[in-house]
């Protein structure tokens, strides 16, 4: 035995040397990347959270919609690019007949998987009406939908009870606009309700091959898809709560595309990873410092205005975002109707004016004011800068940081008495591309729910209602500008920034992004 081993070169020493060399070779290969790459043309991207809802009638959050965009079809979809626009997807034709009627005709031959047949107007009716019938938490997306009238196998009319402008900017091209198979959903749920994480049939260019919670979402081409062939055979979406982790994963070669943080953008400038393109997109999010109008310490309008004028948004952005975001002038970002070019309170503040207001208020409060903020670095930094800025005019503050679960119920009356003690709060809301989505949180009905400043103004409420059905774009934009003026005039709001959406990707990849930098994976093309 020993002799044989020697003759064939398999002695102990040789074996160990060979094993060591093999191990070293294996260790020096980024194996994970190679295994994925071998299975076809694979796009590997990060997402800021793992999916938790795949029923478009009952979805929450944009990361679910990113996947829905790939596995279901909609009548229309957002067009990739720098300007907000939509294009036809499942619809062959669609037109607004009058303020309350939208006629559509589906493309023929769009098939649902699993033998559920061709997509028809009946499926469109079912998909849209079930959102209202089952009291979905996102039924407000469908606003005044009355019903969908079927006029032919592929044709129908969406009937609204009153005009609803966000229909074209949010409802149809986004989450609740996705079309599901009536037959498949009825079989899966019996009453047509929420099917959760198990889509009974797909109608998009991809199907969900596998979802490994907290690991990845694996999409592969839909064999029944008759539309334009998507650019990649497979898409792997890896959930990463921490964008910095995604950046390291990209640098290590585990991702082809990822969003990056604004703080890293500064580092990457002129020092980007190899074969990488970095692009910046504006964001629609809005960040502001709010003041609780019902808190006894903030009753004096002059004190609130002193705070407004003492805050310099540019300094905050320099410290918290490394100067990589632009200051905001209101709730509504540039590019959307209602964006204000100039706020009534200068973005950089005005210390002299702040001191005048403070004097009119009879001086600073006797007790320090509280600033509530989320417990992430960027929010703590912002709060600290604001603390320093307010101390310049003699207003002392104390910063309270809280985890997200606690923070997001801070101003809710249903959560006890905490809203009464809340004074200054650093807030950030997400946004969709219609101004109504921003102002809807500040109407009187939202006081004690999401309107934490407890701002209540009849004119604002009326304008919000009228603007929903206003068809003239400029008139509508003027309404939203007026609404932001009304908010600012209370002294309870200091708008800070809309942040930004920087992304990085491999050279050769042609990503398709919305104007706010959100990815539209089905339109990604190129080589990775």
């Amino acid at each position: 035995m020993t002799d044989t081993a020697h003759r064939t070169g398999l002695g102990r020493r040789t074996f160990l040397q060979t094993a060591a060399a093999t191990g070293l070779a294996a260790a020096t290969m980024p194996l994970g990347s190679r295994i994925w790459a071998q299975s076809g043309k694979v796009l590997r991207v990060s997402s800021y959270a793992d999916i938790d809802a795949l029923d478009p009638g009952f979805y929450q959050n944009g990361y679910n919609v990113d996947v829905m965009n790939c596995i279901y079809s909609k009548l229309v979809r957002y067009k990739p690019g720098r300007e907000w626009d939509w294009e036809l997807e499942a619809a062959e034709e669609i037109e607004q007949v009058d303020d309350t009627h939208i006629r559509f005709k589906l493309k023929e031959g769009l098939m649902f998987t699993g033998g559920y047949g061709e997509m028809t107007a009946e499926d469109v009716k079912f998909s849209f009406e079930r959102v209202l019938e089952h009291d979905s938490p996102v039924k407000s997306d469908w606003g005044p939908l009355d019903h969908v009238e079927i006029t032919g196998k592929y044709e129908g009319v969406i009937v609204l009870s009153e005009a609803f402008q966000p229909l074209w900017t949010i409802t149809l091209p986004y989450g609740t606009g996705h079309i599901v198979s009536k037959k498949a959903v009825m079989e899966a749920t019996e009453n047509g309700g929420n099917f959760g994480m198990e889509p009974p049939a797909y109608s998009g260019p991809y199907v969900l091959q596998e979802w490994k919670p907290n690991q990845y979402v694996h999409l592969v081409r839909n064999p029944d898809w008759k539309g334009e062939t998507p650019g990649f055979d497979e898409i792997r979406i890896l959930p990463m709560d921490d964008t910095k982790t995604a950046e390291r994963a990209y640098e290590a070669g585990d991702l082809d595309y990822t969003e990056i943080t604004l703080s890293s953008l500064a580092d990457y400038r002129g020092n980007e990873p190899e074969n990488t393109v970095i692009e910046e997109y504006p964001s629609l999010y809005y960040v502001w410092l709010g003041m609780n109008l019902d808190n006894p310490a903030l009753q004096d309008e002059n004190l609130r205005k002193a705070i407004q004028h003492a805050i310099n948004a540019e300094q905050i952005i320099d410290a918290a975002y490394f100067g990589e975001a632009a200051p905001s002038t209101g709730l509504i970002a540039p590019g959307l109707p209602g964006h204000r070019e100039n706020p009534s309170v200068p973005v950089a503040g005005d210390l002299d004016k702040a001191r005048e207001y403070l004097e009119a208020a009879g001086g600073p409060p006797s007790e320090p004011l509280t600033i509530d903020a989320l417990n992430a670095t960027v929010w703590k930094t912002m709060a600290e800068v604001i603390q320093a800025q307010l101390s310049q005019i003699g207003i002392q503050t104390q910063i309270n940081v809280q985890d997200s679960g606690s923070f997001w119920t801070l101003g809710m009356e249903s959560e006890g008495e905490r809203w009464k003690d809340m004074q200054l709060v650093l807030n950030r809301f997400s946004m969709l591309p219609d101004p109504y989505y921003a102002t809807s949180w500040f109407v009187s009905d939202q006081v004690g729910i999401w309107n934490w400043e407890r701002f209540s103004n009849e004119e604002f409420d009326e304008l919000h209602k009228l603007a929903l059905s206003e068809t003239d774009t400029e008139t509508r934009a003027e309404m939203y500008r007026k609404m932001q003026d009304l908010m600012e005039a209370t002294g309870a709001y200091k708008f800070i920034t809309h942040e930004g959406t920087p992304v990085m990707y491999r050279e050769g990849l042609e990503p398709a992004l919305r104007p706010d930098g959100r990815p539209l994976f089905i339109d990604f093309e190129g080589e990775v």
């Binding site: 009291d135 290590a252 119920t409 249903s414």
Partner: protein, 312 residues
């Protein structure tokens, strides 16, 4: 030994029940509403209230705790409030990743720590002993998340030898994805274990039975292995048993940094989202594992050293 084991088992069950009850109380003291988190900002107050009722959150706290334990007895840990999936299924999907991570970290750190500690004790006051001491204390003082961050930067980003994120697909891919996280959380334990083993060995080496063995002319290697090391590793076994809890804590950070599935990553997300069923289910399982690990280490010590079970 049987009586000792039974006593420890009963105590373990009590510890798990107390831990879960305390956690349930804490969850309800901390602000945050799972119904709001599930339904999102656009849900109506009526829908939020109905969801609270459906989740049983409108019931008195003692009733909720009692219901949780009653459901456990039926093998039902509840449902994830977002996806509607069974908590037991979710926890059992994630648990193996953390268990493998912790087990590998314990194994390699114990093997290296014991070897390093024994080597230092046997070559006491040499420069190698000094070097080993410096390395041990150095690794102890570096938090696992710092080690994780730098190991990703060095081995994944700069050198490109190992993957930076995930758990991999298949056996070999899984191994390559395991190396850095296991290294990050285990490295401090090399220091702990080596210091304990060194100190313990130095103490045992001076005991009469070792002198007696030498007087009988037994080979030094056999004395070290059978008469010194066997006793000297006992404190290290206890340390490793109780250290499982620390490793679970370290795994939380490491799983987030490596975007790796596991109980730690699951818990972080669930706590932030006030996903009570997941938090309770995950804590129940992890507490059970920690108590079990402590129990096993106690039993191993009792097995190796009969004096321990007599003292109990």
């Amino acid at each position: 030994m049987l009586f000792y084991t039974a006593q420890r088992l009963v105590l373990s069950v009590v510890i798990v029940m107390v831990a879960v009850s305390i956690l349930t109380l804490m969850l309800h003291v901390v602000p945050g509403d799972p119904a709001v988190m599930i339904l999102g900002p656009r849900a109506t107050p009526e829908l939020i209230e109905r969801t609270r009722e459906a989740m049983g959150l409108d019931r008195p706290l003692p009733v909720q705790v009692a219901m949780f334990f009653a459901n456990i007895l039926r093998g039902d840990l509840g449902q994830d409030v977002f996806t509607g999936r069974a908590v037991s299924q979710i926890v059992l999907e994630q648990l193996p990743y953390t268990m493998i991570l912790i087990s590998v970290a314990i194994l390699w750190s114990a093997a290296c720590g014991i070897a390093l500690g024994a080597y230092s004790a046997l070559r006491r006051n040499t420069w190698l002993d000094t070097l080993s001491g410096v390395v041990s204390v150095g690794t102890i003082s570096i938090p696992a998340f710092v080690m994780a961050l730098y190991s990703v930067l060095i081995f994944a980003v700069w050198l490109g030898w190992l993957p930076a994120i995930g758990a991999g697909d298949g056996f070999w891919d899984g191994i390559t994805h395991l190396i850095l996280p296991a290294f990050a959380i285990g490295v401090a334990w090399v220091g702990y274990v080596s210091r304990i083993v060194r100190a313990s060995m130095l103490e045992v080496m001076t005991q009469p039975h070792v002198r007696m063995a030498r007087a009988f002319g037994l080979p030094e290697r056999r004395i070290t292995r059978s008469h010194i090391l066997k006793i000297a590793v006992l404190p290290a076994v206890t340390l490793i048993g109780t250290g499982v809890a620390h490793l679970f804590s370290a795994a939380v950070f490491v799983e987030v940094i490596f975007a790796r599935p596991g109980i730690g990553a699951l818990l972080v997300g669930a706590v932030n989202e006030r996903n009570y069923p997941i938090v309770l289910g995950a804590v129940l399982i992890t507490t059970g594992i920690i108590v079990l690990a402590t129990l096993i280490s106690d039993l191993v010590v009792a097995l190796l050293d009969p004096r321990q079970r007599e003292e109990f």
